[in-house]
Symmetry: none
Subunit: 316 residues, 2 copies
């Protein structure tokens, strides 16, 4: 049943014991919104425990520092930023059908929960969570503000993406006034670069290859580069955006050599080119503007495969 944030607050106020769920491979919004709620429920003297299939990524550890689950009995089950039962992950597959309340902002929500508070206009679940917490009459502490601000800025790319709204800037203002340490959070999430990551980027960009009158850009990260800078492919988050951001580039391709010698390919495209069609042709898939695949062979073979596949689309 669809409900609004105020009704969600009433349901939460009526309970004493909670399990709060975040989605697998958690990001700043699912973690920030969940912990914002957890701190608010605890401020009301309630018992809360947290469930997520995967550990909280190190970069968001400031949100969970010192946190410990309460013992919970016959808990009320709340899913946060969790649009689809599959996103609970395989180890929590017993829960989706039992969820009492889902608080979410994905228009694609599968409506699996008994009650669903959904704001599809909200760029981040954290924006709706602020409404729920305020409707519960809980003061927005700096701790809660940090959680919700993290959600808001994660999902908007720090107010850069097209999902930003006037309301979302007002929510940011509210959270800053409530004591969100936005300087620390922005710096941590958006403007810090490790020295070795910068050095690796510099090395990779020096070998950046353009093709088809600069409409394609191809960035290769080799195992040798990763080893030289003490990095793993998992630590390259965001780098695959780079080739496509270059002016005039319609197909940006980032290739990362894996420890087993495979080449992991990330495609980012302008509206003129379908990334998932190219990736699909090469055995992968994804979204229209962002897709990927894995290729085997020598770099020269992989490079030629990519030039051929992208070239056909650019000419077509």
């Amino acid at each position: 049943m669809r409900i609004d944030g105020k009704e969600a607050a009433r349901l939460l106020l009526a309970q004493d014991s909670f399990l709060v769920f975040s989605h697998k491979n958690p990001d700043g919004d699912t973690i920030g919104s969940a912990f914002g709620l957890i701190h608010a429920l605890r401020a009301l003297g309630k018992q809360v425990a947290f469930r997520c299939q995967d550990p909280v990524p190190k970069k968001y550890s400031y949100l969970t520092q010192g946190y410990q689950d309460d013992p919970v009995e016959n808990p009320y089950l709340v899913a946060v930023d969790l649009a689809d039962p599959q996103l609970f992950g395989s180890t929590l597959q017993e829960y989706p059908e039992k969820i009492d309340l889902c608080i979410d902002h994905h228009i694609s929500n599968k409506e699996y929960a008994k009650h669903l508070a959904l704001d599809a206009e909200a760029p981040a679940c954290a924006q709706l969570m602020l409404e729920v917490i305020e409707a519960m009459g809980v003061e927005i502490s700096p701790k809660i503000a940090n959680c919700l601000y993290t959600g808001l800025c994660t999902d908007t790319g720090c107010f850069l993406h097209s999902n930003v709204t006037a309301k979302c800037h007002r929510v940011a203002a509210r959270l800053i006034e409530a004591g969100a340490d936005f300087v620390k959070i922005n710096t941590l999430l958006f403007s810090s670069k490790e020295k070795n990551r910068l050095a690796l980027e510099q090395e990779a960009i020096s070998g950046l290859e353009y093709a088809f009158e600069d409409r394609m850009a191809l960035l290769l990260i080799t195992q040798k580069m990763l080893n030289a800078h003490g990095l793993t492919p998992q630590e390259l988050e965001g780098l695959s955006q780079l080739p496509r951001q270059i002016e005039g580039v319609e197909a940006g391709v980032t290739v990362t050599e894996q420890p087993n010698g495979d080449y992991k390919v990330s495609l980012r495209t302008a509206e003129t080119v379908s990334a998932n069609e190219i990736a699909g042709e090469l055995g992968g898939g994804g979204h229209p503007r962002a897709a990927g695949c894995v290729l085997k062979g020598s770099w020269q073979e992989v490079r030629q495969t990519l030039l051929d596949a992208v070239g056909r689309r650019l000419k077509g």
Copy 2:
């Protein structure tokens, strides 16, 4: 004489003919604030012309498209985001002492104008300009909103920097509601890169120097690099953020060799170090976290001067 935004509005309303000045090497805030004012004055039927020593950078051309100076007679002289007479540039050196009104947000403002409306809490001059324009009773058109949003997001790095405030988010909300095309502006200013700019960055970063246990990072852009990539110092906006963004760096220094052989220094600092104190010591000025100066001499001399000045602060 110090005045507030409302008094500035009263002074502007009393005049019919204006020259509006932006600082040399103009950025998005001085251009956006100046053109926001220009459109507002024209909406009131006034005659306005614009003066800036240097041409408007190509990336901001969307703000000045189709713009032409009005003929002005005995104009009232307004300086925008112009903290220091020197920033008018050598070709406009006759003007600073004649300026009737300066609208600015730099705490280091030299108070050279007859009247000064200064809001040192505003992260961008555009924030104060919105107050001035609203106090004049002018409706914020989408055109004005684009100008002021450009100023706001330029000077805050799209709401990323430590100068951001709750108020500045509220101003952004107001400008988005007034029709600012923030998606286009954000993409243009913050998520696209020219090919030659990327290549220059790559070359400069390969020479990045660390000092004081990596607490200082020093990036040099030479005329030779600029020439090799067909760029001017004015086209490097934003690059000065980079050294400071490296994890652990408290003082990020970007030095750009000018066509006349001078070295233009941009300082960006963590809260542990005062950028404007360092810049002030070296004959410049600015904000606590972002300041600048110009140094003469050989690169080796300039480099040593900077290492000494920053080193003293890091040790102090």
